[in-house]
Structures are given as structure tokens and as C-alpha cells.
């Protein structure tokens, strides 16, 4: 079901995702690491490990 009030918000989110898709692969991998850190912090699960990234 579509909601005309929510549509512009979803469109902005899609645009944000389009922009993220254009980032260099290296930057995208760094973002995954940040997502992993957040996910591990939310749900402590020993099977979930944050990838080490050499700086």
C-alpha cells in the first residue's frame, strides 16, 4: 500500500541509497564494518565478528 505522505520520505531514502551505491568499493566496505560494529553492540553474539580493517 502506498501513502502519499510517506512517498517523498521513501524517495529521499532511495536517493540516499543511490548515492551510497556510487561510493568507491573501499568506502562501502568501511561502512559495512561500521554497520557490523553497531549490530554487534545491539545484539551480543559471539558468531558475529567485526572485520578488522587496516588503517
Amino acid at each position: 500500500m502506498k501513502d502519499s505522505v510517506a512517498d517523498p520520505i521513501f524517495e529521499k531514502k532511495r536517493e540516499r541509497r543511490r548515492q551510497l551505491a556510487k561510493l568507491p568499493f573501499e568506502r562501502k566496505v568501511a561502512i559495512i564494518v561500521e554497520m557490523q560494529k553497531a549490530a554487534v553492540a545491539i545484539r551480543k553474539d559471539p558468531r558475529r565478528r567485526v572485520w578488522p580493517l587496516d588503517r
Partner: protein, 168 residues
């Protein structure tokens, strides 16, 4: 991740695996926005067909001192999951892989069209989500995708999936 990629390239060079291509979340991330994933999936063609095609991979990992965790091998803490090419579609995806570069290391990755077809064929919730993202990103060459789907009997499944996505 570059260490892991170097190790996989070295395995291919030494003939421990015949050929390979990155799949899963890392492959998706290459083509679309970053996707949360916890390992690097490597589809590979075994050097020798047999019962235990993973044995040479694990032997090499042990030799190099890389521990294993669940089904993955940890390369400097980075989990790498080796998945033998389990059907014609995956074998074809490996053969038609494209090259990516990560921090100066080149590696093979399944193309967006094969990633879409494999996601459709596998069909778990995360695969369906990945396929929807690939379609929405409008990066797929439809004639290439249609050819792959036809070849592997997935056209009807794709039509059903597309209808659900558009109606949803």
C-alpha cells in the same frame, strides 16, 4: 579484506582451487549500496572433483595457520567462506566473473546479472531482498539477465518475483 583476497588469489595461483568469484553480501556491496554481511563468500571450482572438495582448502589454511570458525576460515580475523560451485549457474557465474580492485588487490566477483540469478535461485529472504535491491538500482543488463534466466529455467520464477515487487 585485502589479506583475504590475496590468500584466495594465491590459492588459485597454486591450483588449490581452479577458479573463484566473490559472491554474497560483498559482491552485492560492490554493485549496490553497502549490505550488512559477516563473511566473504567465495564460490570456487575445485581443482579436483571428488567427495571432499573442501579438504585442499582447509589443508592449505591449516598449513598457513589460519584458524577455522564454523564453516569459515579466518584470514587475519576476516571470515572467508568457501562454497564449492554447486550447480551450472554458479559454475557459469564463476566463468563470467568480472574484476574488482580493493586497496590495490584485484579479485574476481560474480557479475550483477549472475548475482541476481543466483539470488533468485537460492530464494532465502535475504536473497530475495538482495535481488529487489539489484532490480531497484537499475544496474542490470536486462538482455544479459534474461539470457541467464532462460538458460537456467528461472524466467517464470523471475516474472513471479517481479510481479510481487511491483505490486508490493
Amino acid at each position: 579484506m585485502e589479506h583475504a583476497l590475496r590468500v584466495v588469489n594465491e590459492m588459485a595461483r597454486l591450483g588449490i582451487i581452479k577458479s573463484y568469484a566473490i559472491g554474497g553480501g560483498v559482491a552485492a556491496t560492490y554493485f549496490i549500496e553497502p549490505v550488512l554481511t559477516y563473511d566473504l563468500d567465495i564460490f570456487f571450482v575445485p581443482a579436483k572433483e571428488g567427495i571432499d572438495v573442501l579438504a585442499p582448502v582447509y589443508d592449505y589454511a591449516r598449513e598457513k595457520g589460519f584458524p577455522s570458525q564454523a564453516e569459515a576460515i579466518l584470514v587475519k580475523g576476516f571470515p572467508v567462506q568457501f562454497i564449492p560451485a554447486y550447480n551450472d549457474l554458479v559454475r557459469e557465474a564463476i566463468a563470467n566473473a568480472v574484476t574488482l580492485s580493493y586497496r590495490g588487490v584485484e579479485a574476481r566477483v560474480v557479475s550483477a546479472e549472475y548475482l541476481a540469478a543466483i539470488s533468485l535461485q537460492t530464494g532465502r529472504a535475504k536473497d530475495r531482498e538482495r535481488l529487489a535491491l539489484l532490480l531497484e538500482a537499475a544496474i542490470l543488463d536486462r538482455s544479459v539477465l534474461d539470457g541467464i534466466l532462460r538458460e537456467h529455467g528461472l524466467s517464470e520464477k523471475f516474472e513471479k518475483f517481479s510481479r510481487i515487487v511491483h505490486e508490493g
